[in-house]
Symmetry: C2
Subunit: 389 residues, 2 copies
């Protein structure tokens, strides 16, 4: 099959707030070949990535991403690897490239799976899949009382693990303590509690260390993103001074970065977003490496169920990687991207879809109200226009 | 002073070839305040970075770069640090951000220097500057004979150090040997020879190791970029098996990445481009760290003399960092960006300009023929247009 078209669609809520909630807009990718279509989603700034996809080349290692994808042969998983390598080489010096390519790569898997009539997990080399324990991923409340109520409500819904993140956490020691205690109180003793601080301490080891006591007392499952992704020395220092496992890696935009974090940061959990790291194949490479290094792989997802499935596929066949991040506060746009949604099974776990391709379908009619039309002119001539959905 | 305007200009040669020659297009930045203007240059894909500069926000950590710069106070170097930190936080999840901000940050130094009537090196805390030994940075010839002639010609021009890079080097062992021998023969015994392979071996330690013998025999000063920037394990492995110093770091897009390379890769030379790493302040942070770790700092530059000055300023006050990369194969566009050009002094060395700001002026009339006009519409409404030069 030939990749005949790659189309990018910028979807957006009517209003975007300053919440750090990645479900407020989306960059969807549709790839077409042999009368079939595959879909994927980038975790990326839509307009920036559209420009990256179609920009005039700057030199031999700065081609637009489209250059290495359009018109290529796609008949096997090896073709996706080859295309990924070519994108990396030909667009190496455009920093945005992995964000842009991630959704395209995911769409290629979906298209290939439909073409070969295989679910993606089988094409990845897994014989079977294992259910994952979802943790309800949500923002801290604006008050400790709201955090408590959110925790209580998640427990009631049947979650066995809950993660609180971002909000104002990490700024004020006393407030932080109240939120952590409220979360643990709301969840009771047995529910797992994860804490995500969204790089709030940058590379400041002392700020992080001063919270270890409260985190240990609340028996948290992990502390996520205490520092910027590249703060290796701070990560290493913190990991050596606590038994609280550290989690991080969502910012990794290629497999080598994630391997470096595994090798040098003392992580307990490596968290990878297929929509950021370069797609499902790149994420699978990290999962394989995590197996060999006795580090737990977990998906990172804060957007649609299309993105969610794309991020659990890379480790769905590894029984020992038990958790998955399950976003529970999606904006309507992110919910409306797919026709079906992945629900908790009777045991409160997540099953991986068995259908061909990604196993989840985009709701083309449902997303139309969110579509933002982009047009770019260069020197007075039309250079790019959003294609029709 | 208030930052009243930040304008991005996409300049391009009429034809862009597949050479890996970054001087074929440029993204220039002009910042204005108090009736003064400052200039900077990004080492970035121009259209991608323009989109990054003005894109609608996606959430609280994905603002356009413009959001954290326009309208800000600028009265001291601390203001530049504050703005840099704000850009990092508010645009954290847009991968392209550091490439886009780099040129803006450089322009802020230029503007501030003109406002305070100080050269940038003094604002960076240096009392005086030290001349640097330039190495002529150029591509390998297409044949060993052409490489020989280029070497010979550089020696004749008065260079004491020459770097050959990219081309077809690194693919064929026998050909590589011929090029290395031709380069050394052309340069004679005393001229320093650097070799830049532009990540050709990705993360393949064996491919690199098989060239060590020829590199040692040719007495090369360093082997540059044997692997992708993130290939830490391969770098470390190679550094432990040779006395040839390794050089790398041009891909670092924040100071933490560069510090990680210094800490974990066994580098002899860290090579930083102010137009990539986030600007002059970020590059200076790496230079300071390199001092403490006994690693040599060198600029990376393959574009205009504006970019060249921006990349030597961060270490111009450190006497022990002796080399600088001096591009000698610039396309006319890159040459035409500045009115003056930095020439070798009588000793064949590079002096740092003493004038206020960056100390080098943009040729506004000279660049007009290269200007590419960008217009972006969203949902039928004009959203962005290249301002007038």
């Amino acid at each position: 099959m030939i990749i005949e078209a790659v189309d990018l669609f910028y979807l957006s809520m009517p209003e975007i707030t300053n919440e750090v909630d990645g479900s407020q807009d989306a960059l969807l990718v549709r790839v077409s070949g042999s009368g079939l279509t595959g879909w994927g989603e980038c975790e990326a700034s839509p307009l920036t990535s559209i420009a990256n996809f179609i920009c005039p080349k700057s030199h031999g290692a700065a081609h637009p991403v489209s250059y290495s994808v359009l018109g290529q042969e796609l008949n096997s998983p090896q073709d996706i690897v080859r295309i990924s390598n070519e994108v990396r080489e030909k667009s190496l010096t455009i920093l945005q490239t992995p964000h842009t390519f991630s959704g395209i790569e995911i769409a290629l898997w979906d298209l290939l799976g439909k073409y070969l009539e295989e679910p993606v997990y089988k094409m990845l080399g897994f014989d079977k899949t294992f259910s994952k324990t979802p943790y309800a991923s949500q923002l801290f409340g604006s008050t400790p009382d709201e955090t408590y109520k959110k925790a209580k409500s998640s427990l009631k819904t049947g979650y066995r693990a809950v993660k609180f993140g971002w909000g104002k956490f990490g700024i004020d020691l006393t407030e932080d303590q109240k939120h952590i205690e409220a979360a643990r109180e709301g969840l009771g003793k047995d529910c797992k509690l994860m804490v995500d601080v969204g790089s709030v301490w940058k590379d400041d080891l002392n700020e992080a260390s001063s919270r270890l006591d409260m985190l240990e007392k609340a028996d948290v499952q992990w502390l996520e993103e205490p520092f910027y992704t590249d703060s290796f020395s701070a990560y290493k220092g913190l990991s050596q001074s606590t038994k609280v496992p550290l989690a991080g890696g969502e910012g990794c935009h290629n497999p080598l970065m994630a391997k470096n974090m595994i090798d040098f940061c003392g992580l307990g959990f490596i968290q990878i977003d297929s929509g950021i790291i370069g797609g499902i194949g790149s994420a699978k490479e990290v999962a394989d490496y995590a197996v060999s290094r006795d580090v737990q792989f977990v998906n990172h997802t804060f957007t649609s169920h299309l993105a969610f499935v794309s991020s659990i596929l890379p480790y769905c066949g590894y029984e020992d990687f038990i958790f998955c991040e399950y976003p529970v506060q999606l904006k309507p746009l992110a919910w409306d991207i797919t026709i079906e949604h992945i629900q908790l099974n009777d045991e409160g776990k997540i099953d991986i879809p068995e259908k061909t391709g990604l196993g989840i379908e985009v709701d083309v009619e449902g997303i139309k109200p969110y579509l933002s039309m982009v047009k770019i002119e260069l020197d007075g001539k039309e250079f790019y226009q959003t294609p029709s959905l």
